[in-house]
Symmetry: C2
Subunit: 423 residues, 2 copies
């Protein structure tokens, strides 16, 4: 019985009842002989309410002060959780990110963890306490200012602490039962995955699965910390994410882990680009200089008659305006004819380490889409993933068709409760 890190999202601690339910679960782990470190997000909508307040006093909240403001949310939830645990007769102490030794760089609102020095947590555990740590926050190494880790930050806090404390497992409690073979809101027959490798989980995360963020999985893989994603409501076994299936799990490595989809991206097509060296570089240098992350990139075959080609790429819709503006400014310099912007697209991805050695997977994927009458606009592949872009209004049908074609459908008709996760 070693040390476990448990992380609870905002929906799990949305109100006093939720906090008491979570407290009971934590105490159960302690009773089972574990040392327990808990990472907690802000209660329910607290963060949104704080952001709303910030916008009322200042249209462009400043980084340092914005972080100071937002971190009040976890301070509230962690103190309440510690109180609820004490009320069950167990000792608990809460710690801010700074007190827990979560050291970050100085990039406010999206800081990166650069070190974890959990001396106070270790002491609290050794004295028999349950340690409650504020997720999503840290303290900057140089200025000692409060920082926040950005979206999904609490999961990253949990994994980072698990690594620093050499935990047996990092349990991510959320409002779904685990990672599914597809989004259960779209695919009624989606199955919960019992085990998935870090690599496949990374591909799912970057392909639209929202249960775990890419950054957190990456951290866990680097330090080889098994993640157990599970529901704080049901108490069922969830999904294990690790290098190898645990001995007590009878898991056959499936060819395909799951189907992910993402409707948060848009497509920009740069039309009439001279087909000569340096043109693509100029386009993507402009994009990079504006700190815009792009996803898929496709260059059409050049039309011999004109010497011109089109380059398409996808990017978050939220960055669309900025990218268009940046490219328009450089139009003369880069030398293209026009820009086309399309935010009615969806990306569908098939993920699975098994596809490396199964040449039929790509063909099967395209066939399933063709049978469903779904047109493919862009294609991108990696060793363990194939992604295509389709029309947004065809996405649900496409996902269901692919899910069925690869034998992922569950036999059960039970509905699965599914919602967003906390930060």
């Amino acid at each position: 019985m070693g040390l476990v890190v448990q992380k609870y999202g905002g929906s799990s601690v949305a109100d006093a009842e939720g906090i008491k339910r979570v407290a009971k679960r934590i105490v159960d782990a302690k009773k089972n002989g574990h040392q327990v470190v808990v990472v907690v997000s802000a209660m329910g909508d607290t963060t949104d309410e704080l952001i709303d307040l910030a916008e009322q006093v200042s249209p462009i909240p400043a980084g340092r002060e914005f972080d100071m403001l937002l971190t009040a949310g976890e301070r509230i939830s962690m103190a309440l959780l510690a109180m609820a645990i004490k009320n069950l007769g167990h000792e608990a102490q809460s710690f801010t990110g700074s007190q827990a030794g979560v050291i970050t760089d100085s990039v406010h609102n999206k800081a990166r963890i650069i070190d974890v020095t959990p001396g106070r947590i270790r002491t609290a555990l050794d004295e028999g306490n349950i340690a409650i740590v504020a997720g999503f926050q840290g303290v900057s190494q140089d200025k000692k200012d409060i920082t926040t880790l950005g979206r999904g930050g609490s999961d990253t806090t949990a994994v980072a602490l698990a690594a620093a404390l050499d935990a047996e497992v990092c349990e991510i409690y959320t409002d779904v039962d685990g990672v599914f073979t597809a989004d259960p809101r779209v695919v009624k027959k989606a199955r919960k995955i019992d085990w998935i490798s870090f690599e496949d989980m990374l591909e799912l995360a970057s392909s639209g699965s929202k249960v775990l963020l890419h950054r957190c999985v990456e951290y866990a893989r680097r330090y080889n910390i098994p993640i157990h994603v599970r529901s704080s409501f049901s108490g069922l076994q969830g999904t294990w994410v690790s290098n190898e299936p645990r001995g007590d799990l009878k898991v056959e490595q499936a060819i395909i882990s799951g189907v992910a989809h993402d409707t948060s991206e848009a497509k920009i097509t740069v039309v009439g680009v001279p087909d000569k060296p340096g043109e693509a570089a100029a386009i993507f240098r402009t994009i990079a200089d504006n700190e815009i992350n792009i996803d898929m990139v496709v260059q059409n075959v050049s039309a011999a008659s004109t010497g011109l080609t089109d380059i398409s790429f996808t990017l978050p819709k939220a960055e669309g305006r900025k990218a268009i503006d940046a490219l328009e400014k450089q139009k003369g310099l880069i030398g293209f004819e026009s820009l086309r912007y399309d935010d009615q697209i969806a990306k569908i991805s098939l993920v699975g380490a098994g596809m490396k050695t199964n040449p039929g997977v790509t063909a099967g994927f395209f066939q399933a889409l063709a049978d469903a009458g779904v047109n493919i606009e862009l294609i991108s592949t990696s060793e363990i993933r194939i992604s295509v872009v389709t029309r947004a209004d065809e996405v649900n049908e496409a996902v269901r068709a692919v899910h069925t074609a690869f034998g992922l459908d569950s036999d059960s008709d039970e509905a699965v409760v599914y919602g967003g996760t906390g930060r």
Copy 2:
């Protein structure tokens, strides 16, 4: 143009509008050439809402975690205030009590400041920033845990920082125009006091005036920091509390500073106490062992026939039950006949350094009460204060009568807005 510390209570920053109004006032002080340190309380009802949440998860919130919870309130208000100031084009940085160097003992929920090491505040000021500091909170010297200072804690934070930074003045902004000669809700003709000595203010504070707490005035007197109590709404000059009137204030030291009243106390009479050495000590040892603060004490002249006497004392109503229980338990040991508990009393106090040299003051006080038909039940005096206990339902009439008798009535009939102050 030196350094000023400004403190704003919860009612001054109750919403986004209030925060923006306060930000403007702060920026004005900066524009006038001052270095500005601002101490801020939690917004409006935030603290009460947090206490309510705590009670929902645990009937007896634990000290350390309760402090962690409550300090979220100032974190929110101070970050928002810094944002609002930046929005006006000035630089501001917010600091927690810990970051501001407010070092306390480890008594959670009512910690005492034992040192202030404002290195980061000084640096922020030197770099041209306005420094915003969370009131009411500090960090314990030994365990580095977050502590809170208890009721009136933000005022104490402000005075302590003013002392550590050698400020010119500590401005306490509140929702009233200053300190008045009596509670304006009771005495329509109460006058705002332009200047009052630390000593008189201390007596007023311990006699029921709620504008400044005793503890904060005591701190200011020890370090000789002038306090300026004023409204965050009106911008008028308020009340200066200091050793000597400022040169530019034409203030004649009045004989009487004001009339305070207090209806928060109860009276316990220990009936039939044997009139022999050690009896009173036994009673008050019992009270002290239960950490109950008593106020006035009176022992009747012993009746020669019985050798028994009665001892009465006043104490906060909230402590009444505990005191009665403690005394009852010791009844056999102490040896008294019975206990009488009376919570329908009021204390009326006349305060003024001038009364030391004016023997007629006591007589005038009693005469005014007699003329108003008010019966006196207990009397207690100090060098600069006379207090009496009367029936609670006579208090308003009594205060008005005394206020008029000592020539304190204002000529103006203007109504004064008066409310509670923040913590």
